[in-house]
Amino acid sequence: MAGWLPIADIAAKVQAGELKAIDLVAQSLQAIADKAEYSAIIATTEARARERAAEIDKRVASGEKVGRLAGVPFIAKDNFLVFGAETTAASNILKGFTAPYQATAIERLEAEGAICVAKANLDAFAHGSSTENSDFMVTKNPHDKTKVPGGSSGGSAAAVILELAPFALGTDTGGSIRLPASFCGAVGYKPTYGLISRSGVVAMASSTDVIGPLTRTVGDAALIIDVLSGQDELDSTTIPRDKTSYTDLTVELKGKKIGVVKEYMTEGLDTAVREQIEAAIEKMKAAGAEVTEVSLPTLPAALAVYYIICPAEVSSNLSRYDGQRYGFSAPNVQTVDESYHQSRSLGFGKEAKRRIMIGTYVLSSGYYDAYYKKAQTVRTKLIKEFEFAFENLDFLVGPTAPSTAFAIGANVDDPLQMYLTDIMTVAANLAGIPAISIPAGVSEGLPVGLQLMAPQRADRELLSVANATEELLG
């Protein structure tokens, strides 16, 4: 099967009648069936996808202008509500839940003619860095089936590299788009906090949750960001978008001041990853970027901040799964309290329980100040260090992860070791700044990801320099 064209080209050809949406959907569904051994997909949305494709082809035939994503198939992480489709967040407690409405993100993509063909696997409730915490199955890395795809958007990243669809949606709470992008060799974009509405997406940690695309190129990511961005009355945390299109990637790399983050280039970094990242930075210098080293002294504490704030918000957000209103409800119980206990204990997997327990602890009376409030205050310190760095720098650069994809099973018995995988991604979430992972070479056949970060709301500038850097790295 030939690879997908750039997304804008697919849409243009559908609009021109040179490609049929129905054939593109068929191609995507066939690829999903052919690559089932990678377990990237939980379920297809075949019936609705074929119906929508036929309707789009009909609209094209009648001379109607369909939109910028006309007939483009895509895959949504299974924590996005897609109308009429089962939405499980890869958890047993939501198995059988059928979305009665849909996410604003899905609405906006559909309004431009895109077609959701399937729901991708994830760590249950997006809790994880390897997609091994899915209650249903373990997704395999497209480059080596014995390796993890990263997580939690591992199904989405694998799907894009396996060419199951031109793009996929993910969510990023502490690195869950960028890490799998790095491990699978995709482009993963985490926007400024609030740029894209999260209405209709299963909440994890609300003060850091963002949604974004996984694509094969920065240009494709920019188009999807442009369609998704903007305020939504259904998500009161949304911020106004840039008036210029995010597809206007004219900001140049030449002359840009870029800081190499010292704390990310330490001994903990895999040697092969370091070599690739240093080589990429040299190319950026040669292209005219002014590169210096920068230190953010509080960065090493970011992961500890994250693993207090995230479980605290998780324990709060997951309290809604009580077995009464939707989701799994334990049979043969006598009282409502017994129903809560049984439904949650049987319905939640181990990682969800672990995070609920930590969150309950750090929020409980007597510990709140020492843990949660302290973490939120260190978060302020970290934000101030980012602001200080961005007074003199346009962007920050470093690796996305300390290593390439690890073996399936390597970290499952050591949750703390698994958490350390996120060490280079969580700070952007805590500060609400945009960040992107782009492919920067391979080490022993496995992709390395380069991470670029920018100040809040500088999404277009970040996409521009990422696009220029992608060209340099070829």
Binding site: G194, R325, M357
Partner: protein, 97 residues
């Protein structure tokens, strides 16, 4: 500072409405202790004069008019995922006594 005993774990589980097996209690008591020890590095971070951050983009009190918006959802469709209903109401088990 925080070594979680079996009783601590059981108390937390009760607060979180979780029933844990004996194996889970043992496992969580060592895993959660390790995680809490890791995050305790924050106690050494100097934060004098800084306030906690709860919202990163500076938004406060986003308001809208208090009026009904019709999104076209029928109550019966929204009730389809409810485990037990009676006359379009959510039915739960006995709450008192």
């Amino acid at each position: 500072m925080a070594d979680l005993s079996r009783d601590d774990v059981l108390k937390l589980a009760r607060l979180a409405r979780l029933s844990l097996s004996d194996d889970e209690v043992a496992e969580f008591s060592s895993e959660l202790t390790a995680i809490l020890h890791y995050v305790e590095q924050l106690q050494d971070v100097e934060v004098d004069g800084l306030k906690p951050t709860n919202q990163v983009t500076g938004l406060t009190n986003v308001m809208r008019e208090d009026e009904v918006h019709d999104y076209g959802y029928a109550a019966k469709d929204l009730l389809k995922n409810v485990p037990a209903t009676e006359d379009d109401l959510i039915k739960v088990k006995r709450m008192i006594g």
